[in-house]
Protein backbone atom coordinates (compact mmCIF):
# COMPACT_ATOMS: atom_id res chain seq x y z
CA UNK A 1 0.00 0.00 0.00
CA UNK A 2 2.06 2.88 -1.34
CA UNK A 3 -0.49 5.41 -0.11
CA UNK A 4 -0.13 4.34 3.52
CA UNK A 5 2.88 6.57 4.09
CA UNK A 6 0.86 9.63 2.97
CA UNK A 7 -1.91 8.69 5.37
CA UNK A 8 0.64 8.41 8.17
CA UNK A 9 2.28 11.74 7.35
CA UNK A 10 -1.19 13.32 7.19
CA UNK A 11 -2.00 11.91 10.61
CA UNK A 12 1.21 13.30 12.08
CA UNK A 13 0.42 16.65 10.46
CA UNK A 14 -3.09 16.60 11.96
CA UNK A 15 -1.82 15.73 15.42
CA UNK A 16 0.96 18.33 15.35
CA UNK A 17 -1.37 21.07 14.04
CA UNK A 18 -3.81 20.25 16.84
CA UNK A 19 -1.31 19.96 19.70
CA UNK A 20 0.57 23.07 18.60
CA UNK A 21 -2.79 24.86 18.32
CA UNK A 22 -1.79 26.26 14.93
CA UNK A 23 -5.32 25.42 13.79
CA UNK A 24 -6.88 27.72 16.38
CA UNK A 25 -8.50 30.97 15.21
CA UNK A 26 -7.39 32.48 18.52
CA UNK A 27 -3.73 31.70 17.80
CA UNK A 28 -3.95 33.30 14.38
CA UNK A 29 -5.41 36.44 15.96
CA UNK A 30 -2.64 36.44 18.54
CA UNK A 31 -0.16 36.20 15.66
CA UNK A 32 -1.62 39.09 13.65
CA UNK A 33 -1.66 41.21 16.79
CA UNK A 34 1.99 40.35 17.53
CA UNK A 35 1.01 39.53 21.09
CA UNK A 36 2.91 36.29 21.52
CA UNK A 37 5.86 34.38 20.13
CA UNK A 38 3.82 31.16 19.72
CA UNK A 39 2.96 31.12 16.00
CA UNK A 40 6.27 32.74 15.06
CA UNK A 41 7.99 29.98 17.00
CA UNK A 42 6.16 27.33 15.01
CA UNK A 43 6.76 28.95 11.61
CA UNK A 44 10.31 29.97 12.55
CA UNK A 45 11.45 26.52 13.59
CA UNK A 46 9.77 25.00 10.53
CA UNK A 47 11.57 27.40 8.17
CA UNK A 48 14.91 26.94 9.99
CA UNK A 49 14.60 23.17 9.66
CA UNK A 50 13.47 23.60 6.07
CA UNK A 51 16.44 25.78 5.12
CA UNK A 52 18.82 23.22 6.67
CA UNK A 53 17.03 20.36 4.95
CA UNK A 54 17.14 22.03 1.54
CA UNK A 55 20.84 22.88 1.97
CA UNK A 56 21.68 19.27 2.87
CA UNK A 57 19.58 17.86 0.04
CA UNK A 58 21.28 20.14 -2.47
CA UNK A 59 24.79 19.68 -1.10
CA UNK A 60 24.67 15.88 -0.93
CA UNK A 61 22.27 15.34 -3.84
CA UNK A 62 20.04 13.37 -1.50
CA UNK A 63 17.44 11.32 -3.32
CA UNK A 64 13.83 10.53 -2.40
CA UNK A 65 12.52 7.16 -1.14
CA UNK A 66 12.19 5.85 -4.69
CA UNK A 67 15.75 6.81 -5.56
CA UNK A 68 14.78 9.79 -7.70
CA UNK A 69 16.68 13.09 -7.44
CA UNK A 70 14.89 15.80 -5.46
CA UNK A 71 14.54 18.81 -7.74
CA UNK A 72 13.82 22.38 -6.72
CA UNK A 73 12.27 24.50 -9.45
CA UNK A 74 12.48 28.27 -9.09
CA UNK A 75 9.07 29.92 -8.96
CA UNK A 76 7.98 32.09 -11.87
CA UNK A 77 9.32 35.59 -11.34
CA UNK A 78 6.59 38.17 -10.90
CA UNK A 79 5.15 40.43 -8.24
CA UNK A 80 1.42 41.00 -8.69
CA UNK A 81 0.20 37.43 -8.43
CA UNK A 82 2.09 36.88 -5.19
CA UNK A 83 1.22 40.26 -3.69
CA UNK A 84 -2.47 40.30 -4.65
CA UNK A 85 -3.03 36.58 -4.24
CA UNK A 86 -1.20 36.67 -0.95
CA UNK A 87 -3.24 39.61 0.34
CA UNK A 88 -6.54 37.97 -0.55
CA UNK A 89 -5.33 34.78 1.13
CA UNK A 90 -4.31 36.77 4.20
CA UNK A 91 -7.73 38.40 4.47
CA UNK A 92 -9.33 34.96 4.48
CA UNK A 93 -6.71 33.55 6.83
CA UNK A 94 -7.46 36.13 9.50
CA UNK A 95 -11.21 35.91 9.01
CA UNK A 96 -11.49 32.13 9.16
CA UNK A 97 -8.40 31.52 11.33
CA UNK A 98 -7.29 28.70 9.08
CA UNK A 99 -5.33 27.78 5.98
CA UNK A 100 -6.34 24.80 3.83
CA UNK A 101 -4.54 22.14 5.91
CA UNK A 102 -5.81 23.26 9.32
CA UNK A 103 -9.34 23.47 7.88
CA UNK A 104 -9.56 19.72 7.55
CA UNK A 105 -7.70 19.11 10.80
CA UNK A 106 -10.41 21.17 12.52
CA UNK A 107 -13.12 19.06 10.92
CA UNK A 108 -11.44 15.90 12.24
CA UNK A 109 -11.01 17.54 15.62
CA UNK A 110 -14.74 18.09 15.91
CA UNK A 111 -15.29 21.65 14.72
CA UNK A 112 -17.63 20.55 11.95
CA UNK A 113 -18.64 24.04 10.83
CA UNK A 114 -15.18 24.37 9.27
CA UNK A 115 -16.73 22.22 6.55
CA UNK A 116 -18.44 25.40 5.36
CA UNK A 117 -15.08 27.18 5.25
CA UNK A 118 -13.46 24.27 3.41
CA UNK A 119 -16.30 23.97 0.89
CA UNK A 120 -16.06 27.64 0.00
CA UNK A 121 -12.26 27.44 -0.18
CA UNK A 122 -12.74 24.89 -2.96
CA UNK A 123 -15.33 27.17 -4.56
CA UNK A 124 -12.70 29.92 -4.33
CA UNK A 125 -10.18 27.88 -6.28
CA UNK A 126 -12.75 27.32 -9.03
CA UNK A 127 -13.65 31.00 -9.02
CA UNK A 128 -10.00 31.85 -9.61
CA UNK A 129 -9.96 29.51 -12.59
CA UNK A 130 -12.90 31.38 -14.09
CA UNK A 131 -11.60 34.95 -13.63
CA UNK A 132 -7.83 34.47 -13.77
CA UNK A 133 -7.39 35.82 -17.29
CA UNK A 134 -8.77 39.15 -16.13
CA UNK A 135 -6.39 39.43 -13.15
CA UNK A 136 -2.92 41.02 -13.06
CA UNK A 137 -0.12 38.48 -12.68
Amino acid sequence: MKLLKFLLVGMIFGIVMSKSEAMSWYRIQEMFRFQAFHMYGIIGTAVTLGVLGVLLIKKYSIRDFDGNPILFSPKEKSVWRYLLGGTIFGLGWALSGSCPGPMVVNIGYGFYTLTIVFFFAIVGTYLYGIVKDKLPH
Binding site: E76, G86, A94, L95, F111, F118, V123
Partner: protein, 125 residues
Protein backbone atom coordinates in the same frame (compact mmCIF):
# COMPACT_ATOMS: atom_id res chain seq x y z
CA UNK B 1 -4.49 10.61 -5.03
CA UNK B 2 -1.68 11.10 -2.56
CA UNK B 3 -3.09 14.56 -1.80
CA UNK B 4 -6.46 13.16 -0.83
CA UNK B 5 -4.85 10.46 1.28
CA UNK B 6 -2.82 13.12 3.07
CA UNK B 7 -6.00 15.16 3.75
CA UNK B 8 -7.72 12.07 5.06
CA UNK B 9 -4.76 11.49 7.35
CA UNK B 10 -4.98 15.09 8.54
CA UNK B 11 -8.66 14.63 9.43
CA UNK B 12 -7.77 11.44 11.33
CA UNK B 13 -4.92 13.23 13.05
CA UNK B 14 -7.29 15.94 14.26
CA UNK B 15 -9.67 13.26 15.49
CA UNK B 16 -6.93 11.42 17.37
CA UNK B 17 -5.66 14.64 18.91
CA UNK B 18 -9.10 15.63 20.15
CA UNK B 19 -10.22 12.25 21.45
CA UNK B 20 -6.97 10.84 22.83
CA UNK B 21 -4.41 13.58 23.23
CA UNK B 22 -6.41 16.54 24.43
CA UNK B 23 -5.65 18.19 27.75
CA UNK B 24 -9.15 19.61 27.80
CA UNK B 25 -7.68 23.06 28.41
CA UNK B 26 -8.77 26.01 26.32
CA UNK B 27 -6.11 27.63 24.20
CA UNK B 28 -3.84 29.74 26.44
CA UNK B 29 -3.46 32.89 24.38
CA UNK B 30 -1.93 36.09 25.65
CA UNK B 31 -3.93 38.19 28.09
CA UNK B 32 -3.73 41.17 25.76
CA UNK B 33 -5.28 39.18 22.92
CA UNK B 34 -8.12 38.05 25.19
CA UNK B 35 -8.70 41.70 26.06
CA UNK B 36 -8.58 42.90 22.42
CA UNK B 37 -10.96 40.16 21.34
CA UNK B 38 -13.20 41.05 24.27
CA UNK B 39 -13.59 44.53 22.81
CA UNK B 40 -14.81 42.89 19.61
CA UNK B 41 -17.41 40.91 21.50
CA UNK B 42 -15.52 37.64 21.91
CA UNK B 43 -15.65 35.81 25.24
CA UNK B 44 -12.39 34.44 26.69
CA UNK B 45 -11.57 31.08 25.07
CA UNK B 46 -13.23 27.94 26.44
CA UNK B 47 -11.78 25.67 23.76
CA UNK B 48 -9.60 25.91 20.66
CA UNK B 49 -12.14 27.75 18.55
CA UNK B 50 -14.56 30.61 19.30
CA UNK B 51 -18.20 29.61 19.56
CA UNK B 52 -19.02 33.09 18.30
CA UNK B 53 -17.88 31.97 14.85
CA UNK B 54 -17.91 28.19 14.80
CA UNK B 55 -20.82 26.95 16.88
CA UNK B 56 -23.60 25.27 14.89
CA UNK B 57 -25.96 28.00 16.04
CA UNK B 58 -23.82 30.92 14.88
CA UNK B 59 -22.56 29.26 11.71
CA UNK B 60 -26.09 29.16 10.36
CA UNK B 61 -27.11 32.73 11.03
CA UNK B 62 -26.85 34.87 7.89
CA UNK B 63 -23.92 36.89 9.18
CA UNK B 64 -22.17 33.88 10.68
CA UNK B 65 -22.49 31.88 7.50
CA UNK B 66 -21.22 34.74 5.34
CA UNK B 67 -18.15 35.14 7.55
CA UNK B 68 -17.23 31.46 7.22
CA UNK B 69 -18.05 31.37 3.51
CA UNK B 70 -16.13 34.53 2.60
CA UNK B 71 -13.20 33.51 4.81
CA UNK B 72 -12.98 30.19 3.03
CA UNK B 73 -13.55 31.73 -0.40
CA UNK B 74 -10.66 34.16 0.03
CA UNK B 75 -8.31 31.46 1.31
CA UNK B 76 -9.09 29.25 -1.69
CA UNK B 77 -8.99 32.03 -4.26
CA UNK B 78 -5.89 33.63 -2.76
CA UNK B 79 -3.89 30.44 -2.50
CA UNK B 80 -4.52 29.49 -6.09
CA UNK B 81 -3.81 33.05 -7.28
CA UNK B 82 -0.57 33.18 -5.27
CA UNK B 83 0.33 29.63 -6.22
CA UNK B 84 0.62 28.48 -2.64
CA UNK B 85 -0.45 28.89 0.97
CA UNK B 86 1.47 29.18 4.23
CA UNK B 87 3.02 25.76 3.81
CA UNK B 88 3.83 26.22 0.14
CA UNK B 89 5.23 29.74 0.40
CA UNK B 90 5.97 30.63 4.01
CA UNK B 91 7.59 27.31 4.81
CA UNK B 92 8.66 25.44 1.66
CA UNK B 93 9.22 28.49 -0.53
CA UNK B 94 11.14 30.45 2.08
CA UNK B 95 13.20 27.33 2.94
CA UNK B 96 14.36 27.35 -0.67
CA UNK B 97 15.03 31.11 -0.32
CA UNK B 98 12.60 31.99 -3.10
CA UNK B 99 11.87 35.70 -3.47
CA UNK B 100 8.35 35.08 -4.89
CA UNK B 101 7.51 33.25 -1.67
CA UNK B 102 8.74 36.16 0.40
CA UNK B 103 6.45 38.46 -1.60
CA UNK B 104 3.57 36.06 -1.02
CA UNK B 105 4.23 36.05 2.73
CA UNK B 106 4.29 39.87 2.73
CA UNK B 107 0.90 39.65 1.04
CA UNK B 108 -0.37 37.16 3.63
CA UNK B 109 0.51 39.53 6.41
CA UNK B 110 -0.81 42.60 4.60
CA UNK B 111 -4.16 40.86 4.19
CA UNK B 112 -4.21 39.48 7.70
CA UNK B 113 -3.40 42.84 9.27
CA UNK B 114 -5.96 44.65 7.10
CA UNK B 115 -8.63 42.19 8.18
CA UNK B 116 -7.65 42.21 11.85
CA UNK B 117 -7.23 45.94 12.36
CA UNK B 118 -9.50 47.57 9.76
CA UNK B 119 -12.28 45.15 8.97
CA UNK B 120 -12.87 43.30 12.26
CA UNK B 121 -13.93 46.48 14.12
CA UNK B 122 -16.50 46.99 11.36
CA UNK B 123 -18.01 43.51 11.46
CA UNK B 124 -17.62 42.65 15.15
CA UNK B 125 -18.84 45.06 17.79
Amino acid sequence: MWNLTFLLGAILGGFIASTMLSSGEPVQISEQTVKDLGELGFQPPTSLQPDELFSMKNAFTLKGFLILALGGLMVGFGSRYAGGCTSGHAISGMSDLQIPSLIAVIGFFAGGLLMTYLIFPLIFS
